[in-house]
């Protein structure tokens, strides 16, 4: 999959081409020539306008233009693809997939196709009498295709019955254009294909002007292609990694540096002091606050526990818990003290009953287990307390009792 792969980014339009080769029987009327097949796939991945299944009319038109551009203009020599005349020839297939459609798929596809064909290497074949040996890449280096010239398409969009002309239209421009013209040209200023359609009326001068503009554009594009091919060849020789994953830029920000800027905070400070002055005295803090865990305070009592647990079961569990807590009294004292110190105490009038609780159901099972094995209690100070979430009356009160028992 490495050789013969080309990705083209034309603005936001992304196109991928991959070339593959197969040995087949030649066509009856051309026994000494191989075949080049170009297939353009417009998948719904590229744009919601494309539907899966049968290609649309525009898809077929683009495919035909690509075929005419490369195949009918003899860009790749087909006679050299012959292995045994009349029996075995190479059939080279270029699959062009549109990954993202932001306009002008035609240009991107043509660049991708011809570059991929230039990049491709086919296995070397030797014929000795009747025997045909296809050498693997390890055996003999793969052989490039003989590409005579590189035809590249340039698309023009016309507006207002040919009065305005845009080169390389993007998606929004394509949707409102009157008609389009595609000119396929190579480095030697030979027009390889020309297609004007779309229900528009043009005059001869406009056509000639387009071909002149195309000459300039094609020269630039082919230079870019050459540079990319050379860079890839160098990278392969140096043994660096190359291929699809390497060519996609990561666009990562690896460092960020900003110089310190002085900020004038006097205005903000004045505003803040004003706000403080204008604010009234703080209200009395509410009573009956339960600090459950560092950073969590419960004010008031919660609703009835609606977790499908019967009250009877809860009571029995409570009894169990109480018993266990009594037996673990000493440990509870030992462990609860450090935790009490850690907990930020919300001062206020009224009783503040510290309760440790956690919502973890796991703790519940641990506690039961703990009843059997007392030595493990020191690990989890929270488990000595109630494990039920203190949203219900009974557990909260239970906690209070337990604590009092423990502290005594």
């Amino acid at each position: 999959m490495e050789r013969g792969c080309c990705i083209v980014d034309l603005g936001d339009t992304k196109v991928l081409a991959q070339v593959s080769g197969k040995i087949e029987e030649p066509k009856k009327n051309r026994p000494t020539e191989g075949s080049i097949i170009i297939n353009l796939e417009l998948s719904p991945m590229a744009s919601p306008a494309f539907e899966p299944g049968r290609p649309t009319e525009s898809g077929i038109e683009m495919n035909r233009i690509l075929e005419r551009n490369i195949r009918d203009s003899r860009a790749v020599d087909t006679e050299s693809l012959c292995i045994v005349a009349g029996e075995k020839v190479w059939s080279i297939r270029a699959d062009v997939h549109v990954l993202n459609d932001e306009g002008n798929i035609m240009d991107a596809a043509s660049i991708a196709a011809i570059t991929a064909l230039s990049h491709f290497r086919r296995p070397d074949v030797s014929v000795m009498g009747e025997e045909v040996t296809v050498h693997s890449p390890e055996d003999r280096d793969p052989v490039p295709l003989s590409v005579h010239h590189m035809p590249v398409c340039v698309t023009f969009a016309f507006f207002d019955q040919g009065e305005f002309l845009l080169v390389d239209p993007n998606r929004s421009e394509e949707r409102v254009m009157d008609g389009r013209m595609v000119v396929g040209m190579n480095m030697h200023r030979e027009i390889c294909t020309l297609m004007m359609s779309g229900g528009m009326l043009l005059v001869k001068e406009q056509v000639l002007r387009c071909s002149q503009i195309a000459t300039v554009k094609v020269a630039e594009i082919i230079e870019l292609i050459q540079r990319a091919l050379d860079k890839d060849a160098q990278a392969r020789q140096a043994g660096e990694k190359c291929g699809f994953a390497e060519s996609v830029p990561t666009n990562k920000i690896t460092t960020n540096r900003k110089e310190a800027t002085a900020i004038d905070t006097t205005a903000a400070a004045q505003q803040a002091s004003q706000v403080i002055q204008e604010a009234g005295p703080v209200d009395k803090p509410m009573s009956n606050m339960l600090v459950q865990a560092p950073g969590t305070v419960q004010i008031g009592e919660g609703l009835v526990n609606t977790w499908d647990v019967d009250d009877e079961d809860m009571e029995s569990e409570e009894k169990e818990g109480r018993e266990k807590s009594v037996t673990n009294g000493r440990e509870a004292v030992a462990t609860s003290k450090p935790t009490e110190r850690k907990r930020p105490v919300k001062a206020g009038e009224g009783t503040v009953s510290h309760a440790e609780g956690s919502d973890s159901e796991e703790e519940e099972t641990v506690m039961l287990f703990q009843g059997d094995d007392e030595t493990k209690s020191t690990e989890e100070p929270d488990s000595t307390a109630l494990m039920q979430p203190s949203n219900s009356d009974k557990p909260a009160k239970k906690k209070g009792k337990k604590k009092k028992a423990a502290q005594k």
Binding site: R64, R74, M181, N186, I191, M195, M196, S197, V207, S211
Partner: protein, 246 residues
């Protein structure tokens, strides 16, 4: 075929024409009674048949209805016996679909569709014998058929091919010259205003020669127009004579 010269030393082509001569054009209008308009055209050995139905109500697919103009529907097909080897897929392959689409775009630009909102015009073209210039024969036949159907058009649409071989442009390429690999240009245009409706080029042509070939093709279209126009006028005057006589 390798020994044949496209242009001989005296400047004659394989079929005896000069480089800027059209092939002989024979046309008949009103060949079918069922269709609203029909025409048959022979350009040298290329024979094409066209029928037009419409404007009528949009039958298939309510989604195609245009509220302000008519929808033009074209279908191109080549008979299986039209080429040297039997053609297994007369329609549905990519080439035919592309041709159908080009025909449709050509006629949508030329027919005054604003006069027939919410209706459909069908154009069916069949190639009976293919000897180069298939698309041109189709367009010319369809023009005659549309005129026969009485559907108003902005102008005639005439099509012609022009090629470039051995440094000289040739008009109206035949199949033998096409398969020799020479570049050729297909032009469909409105002859009076010289506006190009469709332009298509195959093989490689140098940009400097483009203008020469385009000029020759324009001239060829005008010649085709002259022949078609004379035929239409003859046909109409004959029908008129028949009607007034009885």
């Amino acid at each position: 075929m390798a020994g044949l010269e496209i242009i001989s030393d005296q400047g004659y082509r394989i079929d005896g024409r000069r480089s800027s001569e059209l092939r002989k054009v024979c046309a008949r209008m009103g060949v079918f009674t069922q269709a609203d308009g029909s025409a048959y055209i022979e350009q040298g050995n290329t024979k094409a048949l066209a029928t037009v139905y419409g404007p009528h109500e949009v039958r298939k697919g309510r989604g195609k209805i245009q509220h302000d103009r008519a929808v033009v529907n074209c279908q191109f097909s080549m008979a299986t016996f039209s080429t040297g080897e039997r053609k297994s897929r007369p329609k549905g392959d990519r080439r035919s679909q592309e041709m159908s689409m080009h025909l449709r775009q050509t006629f949508e630009a030329v027919i005054v569709t604003e006069l027939f909102p919410r209706s459909q015009i069908d154009i069916y073209v069949q190639i009976l014998q293919a000897d180069g210039g298939n698309y041109c024969a189709c367009v010319n036949a369809a023009t005659l058929a549309v005129i026969d159907a009485g559907i108003p058009m902005k102008d005639y649409v005439c099509a012609c091919t022009a090629g470039f071989i051995q440094d000289s442009p040739l008009l109206d390429i035949s199949y033998v010259e096409e398969s020799a690999g020479a570049p050729f240009l297909t032009v469909a245009m409105m002859p009076k205003s010289e506006q190009i409706v469709l332009l298509e080029m195959n093989s490689r042509l140098h940009a400097d020669n483009m203008e020469k070939v385009l000029d020759l093709a324009t001239q060829g279209c005008k010649d085709v127009f002259a022949v078609l126009d004379r035929h239409v006028r003859d046909h109409v005057s004959e029908s008129h004579a028949l009607m007034t006589a009885s």
